[in-house]
Symmetry: C2
Subunit: 570 residues, 2 copies
Amino acid sequence: MTETADLGCRNLRWALALLDGLADGGLRRLVVSPGSRSTPLVMAGQHHPAIELTPILDERSAAFFALGLARASGRPVGLVCTSGSAPGHWMPAVMEASQSEIPLILLSADRPPELRGWGANQTLDQSRLFDGFVRAFHDPGPAEEGTAALKMIRALGARAAAVSQGDWPGPVHLNLPFREPLVPRTGCEPQRLAIPACPSPCTVPESDIPIPTSVRDLASHLSGRGIICCGPGTWSRQATEALWSCAERLGVPVLCDPLSGLRFGPGPEHRIARYDSLLRDPATAETLRPDWVLRFGRVPVSKTLLTWLTDLPTYLVDPGAGWSDPSHDVRMRIQTDPGAVCRWIADSDPSPADSGWLAAWIRAETDLDASIDAYLAESPWCEAQLIRDLLATLPPEEGLLCANSMPIRQIDTWSGTRAAPLHLFGNRGTSGIDGQTSTLAGLNAGGVPTTALLGDLSFLHDLSGLALLQGLDRPCILINNGGGRIFDYLPQHGLPDFERLWRTPVDVDLASLIRSFGIAHRTVEDATGFRQALTQSLADGEGNAGVIEVRLDGDLSRRIHRDFWTRLAG
Amino acid sequence: MTETADLGCRNLRWALALLDGLADGGLRRLVVSPGSRSTPLVMAGQHHPAIELTPILDERSAAFFALGLARASGRPVGLVCTSGSAPGHWMPAVMEASQSEIPLILLSADRPPELRGWGANQTLDQSRLFDGFVRAFHDPGPAEEGTAALKMIRALGARAAAVSQGDWPGPVHLNLPFREPLVPRTGCEPQRLAIPACPSPCTVPESDIPIPTSVRDLASHLSGRGIICCGPGTWSRQATEALWSCAERLGVPVLCDPLSGLRFGPGPEHRIARYDSLLRDPATAETLRPDWVLRFGRVPVSKTLLTWLTDLPTYLVDPGAGWSDPSHDVRMRIQTDPGAVCRWIADSDPSPADSGWLAAWIRAETDLDASIDAYLAESPWCEAQLIRDLLATLPPEEGLLCANSMPIRQIDTWSGTRAAPLHLFGNRGTSGIDGQTSTLAGLNAGGVPTTALLGDLSFLHDLSGLALLQGLDRPCILINNGGGRIFDYLPQHGLPDFERLWRTPVDVDLASLIRSFGIAHRTVEDATGFRQALTQSLADGEGNAGVIEVRLDGDLSRRIHRDFWTRLAG
């Protein structure tokens, strides 16, 4: 009876049952920001044998770390914070997780209902805080005792984990009020609930996925000169094979976005990666214009490609809830597994395009490979050669996190393909400047050794993430070219006060800043220096791969890009 | 006609009309984070003669800066950012602004409606993003031409500014979609709209505020032994005078929260500031227990006070929408101006408490002042002496920003009163660890020279704000005691892995970190060192007052506090 009256113990058991359910659903990690109200969750994490806790001070950084961790590990990751403005800091990463369909479990501690709305300290309305950016929201109320209550909160954990990984993966928010005391008395036995494990939701194996009837109509549209365009997305090995076969049967090229996961690793010659450059030549753009487009995944990075695709009859295959159709050209949207669709098309004996069609694409790609090599051999060192060297050096099956704005566009332009697999990661859901170093740390913690390529503004936007680079085995490559150089390529370039209001360079000694966290810092200014620093950093990466600061002249880069595009267009 | 077809010019004129309305409503500053979509707003800010632009890279830091700026300047402050996750970073500061009733105008640029929900880059649903944390939300759609349209958007600006400063002040969110092109063609004349200025909303002068009939009932409850308790809030000079007179007529003490604005500046002897210590002695707490409580403003900081107030008949006066009553003891809530209520009570010839009542309070306060002096003279140097020296040194009418967790509680305990006015600022709406250095920079930019008192975790939670300390004339005093020491005073202290999961010290070389931004850094370890550093920093503050890092032994501080409270209790 005394034990029954220990409210701290009740809180702990309740939190432990919740974590049991989450662990049944595949969760193994909780990223915890310090606070008092969240104590039952943290103590439950300490008691739970399957769960590991990672403390991170800044909730914003914690959330981006969790995002990277979930992406690399393929498991849902939990976030824990205290009440008040603390969960508000999760917002940017939750937005990205929602758009990129990453399973995050948001566990915000809260004051109990009797304190909400009555001016109590550190209390505000946390319910539905993430609104449309979460797949589900629950507020199960304060901890209760007894088997029925514990079964409920455990089932809610399992359900949250399942929903976060369901047909439309993404974040789930549980707001969890706790009454004081938050710490149990001595003698509280936080034993786990002796009920059978929650059943996992049943997943249909890829090969058994039924083909919707609508796909049978699709085949009739895919005859003649077409293209397959793969935007950011995930392809299993099986699905990738089906894609290549499907394209071969149709006699069409596959245009692979850098974030499609298809550019790097073994692939056929009808895999096309140079379209952003190819299509800058109006004559080529006209010659290669298709009659139809079969699109997979989200919208590609290349604006050149997007503009060129506008007004073409488009067929979109998306396994989730996405409607990625900004130009409103989609004539049929098929919500099912891309691999299943590819297999079905390949097996349906389609009528292929004339053989000249694919040959023209392959020749264009090969020619462009050669002219890029020639151009880069004679032009000054810039991002183009850096990216070529980086892709030549990164070990197979490792990761590369590519920031938004310039880096992802430059990868798009200059990467080409490579035979050795590489996981290219990018927070492309909201395409923010935010959370990059924290995401990098999370990816590495998630089991994929990952190098990053960032610009100076992205790096400085996520200063809290800098502390997380302590102990990393892979480097963060930081292109320091004095601010947001993407604006140099936009009409804002040259407006009055352009530097102060758009490019916004930050006045900081980067080396000293980085070293203040005990992180190694190397500066490079040329190709040899970069190759050496990269090799060294990967070799002695054991826990302090650090930052490679690449000093580049942004104006020179711009001239090199512009000159290259002018040549292509001419 | 060619001009009409310049969509970039249309965007600029639209944005300029909006700023005209905001400027009519009192807005003078826009804090701008870099981005492309927000270009029309930034260009309009450049054109507008009454508006000053401040660029800040990190939107989270920008929002806390704006919060400080609005608080110190007494004007609404605008925030501008690009689309995507950018406005999500405003969330924590918006939560604070909502709870602290600070007028922020949130101007989020957006993609036009035809791109929303179609997978376009950097596009997500920004509408109602801040939900219950803003007083109003509007999405006026893309820019339109013509006088009627420009009148509308200008009126919307004036309205947003008025609502943000209305009966229930706080943030207002305008989501502003812009179609490309975002930059006007050469020759666009962004002249301002030739219509009369928007009328400002009419404010009733304090002396004319009618007294609600309910107050007439109040007087009958306020006889005998009572106390007046003033939580965080704002008191005009007139209202303060009325408060002192009212208390004198009633023969009761006024317990002044550090954030009430009443502790510092001239005041009568019935102004009480030592209640948090006084009430730790059970005998005193019993002797001084009142029959009724008249409360003004938000909930006080002191938990000792709050616990002691529980179950007492309470009468709450709040000019705004607050219901600050976490113990649910309020018997009457009067929504009107506190000064008006005080004046009415004083003039209503109330029956005062017996003279022994107030004398007991004054004697208790005076005795405690003396015993604190004696105790501090013999105890090792810690926050107590630092706070005494700080308050003795800060020039009259300047500001002190006090962080949450320990600093505000230590000010509460140790400040006492002072005759020279001082603006004590604290982000006490959500009581977060967040945004402190950015708020400090904003307060200074808002015209009140302000020093800060922060702990190491608060400092490190807002690393982006560090860049904003460049150019400050007043120092940031950073108590470095190895993590979140508030947990040392809570039941979590001593739990397994306490240091890693609750106190969470950060492994960083603070001096090197601070200096990497070109900011002066001084370390002090004793009273003499602190006094010297503070005097120097205030004297040569011209643009680089920098950071004073105070190294304190947290365990020693805890012992000194505990020992003091033990003595008081017994």
